[in-house]
Amino acid sequence: MAAFAPSPPASWRESSPLPGFGLALGFTVLYLSAIILLPLAALVTRPWQHGVGGFLGAIFAPTTLEALRLSFAAAAAAAAANVGLGLLIAWVLQRYDFPFRRVLDALVDLPFALPTAVAGIALATLYGPRGWIGGLLEPLGIKVAYTPLGVFVALLAVGLPFVVRSVQPVLADLDAAYEEAARTLGAGALQTFVRVVLPALGPALTTGFALAFARGAGEYGSVIFIAGNMPGVSEIAPLVIVGKLEQYDYSGAAAVGVAMLTVSLAVLIATNTVQTRLSRRGGP
């Protein structure tokens, strides 16, 4: 290979006879710097204008803290519920044949494809007091729209595809022979599922949870129409940022942004670690 190299290779990369490395990587790095790095630098440096105290003060203001708590708690609860629901749906779509299976399979991606504002007004109407579901729940004394429960319901829809699409390829690769072997050896249906299928799906479920959580915690459009947005009660963290921007409190907005980004990234990194451990332990 080295014989083809036109010039002595730089130490940080292996030489290649293919052209265009400098141009392609140069453009990539330039573009990323302009679109991601530079704007992020402006965010990360902003909240410290009034020192660490200013940063903490902005985060620990009661309504802000409550909004952060609501965003992360609702995202975690919805992602956890979606681990179960998503597993069920992935399992059914992958393992059984029934009418309209392929249409339903394609529809799973709709929450990804549907603009969040459209989902937002549809959910607010559906779960509102005169909506198809809200109207049924109201006589039971259950209020979804304009309460924290509305945030959870909206995030259930947002997070579902993450779990289903994480699990499906693993289920497809998981040879049904393992399950049949377990059954032949005398394991019941439930035992087979818990002892054979679930361990193999662990990493995929963890990934699905993390992606659904990260997306849910930052979700804005699907949530604000149904949430009611009462400060300290049903106001989500992204809306706090919008509110602070409207009051020209740039460093406060940046502080909340940095806090949200930190938690989301920490969860993603933690799940990556868990996932590596789970897959090292290995399923079938």
Binding site: P19, L25, T28, Y31, A113, P115, P161, R165, A214, Y250
Partner: protein
């Protein structure tokens, strides 16, 4: 899809599982979609079509198309360049680069808007420079375009990178040995090999670009007919209690989502796309 493993539903246990799963999909996905259609047509076809004749709606559709028309080609060019350097060459810092490309996926859309205010707004890093030059970015059309680009940066790149890594460099090396130049190798060997994945990525990128709400909402300034995209126009109509109008406009975007899903599913069924990149941002 492993069709061989799919069993017929002939026992009560599986039947219950299938029914619960289908019922949940209908509640979570079917009912919101049905709500959009029913509400859009609630006041008749006249009101439905009337929504799209209002000048503000026309301007909003135009701005949405403009933002997508700028963001999608730029991100496609970026995706191709990033995938070319990452998949065809070995260099240090590669995984850091991939992590950075994926970063916008874990950012709240509101933060994707906020960062531009902090960088280019009146009190941002480059605010004074831009003000002196008389360029308005924030609360204006350029800001909306920048936010759309940031939110959709990873969508095409992450389709191309795994595929081009899988395809390796053999064909390109053969073409180079036969004397083909760099651009010629790219256009006649690499690009044809990834065209369906590129199209798949463009579809997803376009859907997200046209539907983006949070990021553009922060940067828009909400001036009707000027800085309102279609999703922002929907919000404005809804907040004015013009529900039929809001849902009519929403049905246009819902239609786009359905068309995107159909095209994307067709590409996947044709085997043109790696099954692991089915979702909009599956792992």
């Amino acid at each position: 899809m492993n069709a061989a493993a799919a069993r017929r539903v002939d026992r009560p246990g599986p039947l219950v599982l299938v029914m619960v799963a289908v019922a949940w999909l209908l509640v979570v996905i079917g009912l919101p979609l049905a709500t959009v259609v029913v509400q859009a047509l609630a006041k008749g076809l006249g009101v439905f079509f009337g929504t799209f004749r209002q000048p503000d709606a026309v301007a909003a559709i135009r701005l949405t198309l403009l933002a997508a028309a700028i963001a999608v080609p730029l991100n496609a060019a970026f995706g191709l360049a990033a995938a070319w350097s990452i998949a065809k060459f070995e260099f240090r810092g590669k995984s850091l680069l991939i992590t950075l490309i994926d970063l916008p996926l874990s950012m709240s859309p509101v933060i994707s808007g906020l960062v531009w205010v902090l960088l280019l707004g009146a009190r941002g890093w480059f605010g004074p420079v831009l003000a002196a030059a008389g360029v308005k970015v924030i609360f204006a059309v350029p800001g909306i375009v920048l936010a759309t680009i940031l939110v959709t940066v990873p969508l095409i790149a992450r389709e191309l990178i795994p595929l081009m890594i899988e395809q390796g460099t053999e064909e390109e090396l053969a073409a180079t040995t036969l004397g083909a130049g760099g651009w010629s190798v790219f256009f006649r060997v690499t690009l044809p090999n990834v065209r369906w994945a590129l199209l798949h990525g463009v579809l997803l990128c376009n859907a997200r670009a046209m539907g983006e709400f949070g990021a553009v909402s922060v940067l828009s300034g909400h001036i009707r007919g000027v800085t309102e995209t279609l999703p922002l126009h929907i919000e404005a109509l809804y907040n004015d209690y013009d529900f039929a109008g809001a849902f009519s406009a929403a049905s246009l975007l819902a239609g786009l989502a359905i068309v995107t899903l159909i095209a994307k599913t067709a590409l996947e069924r044709a085997g043109a796309v790696n099954p692991s990149s089915r979702g909009f941002h599956a792992p």
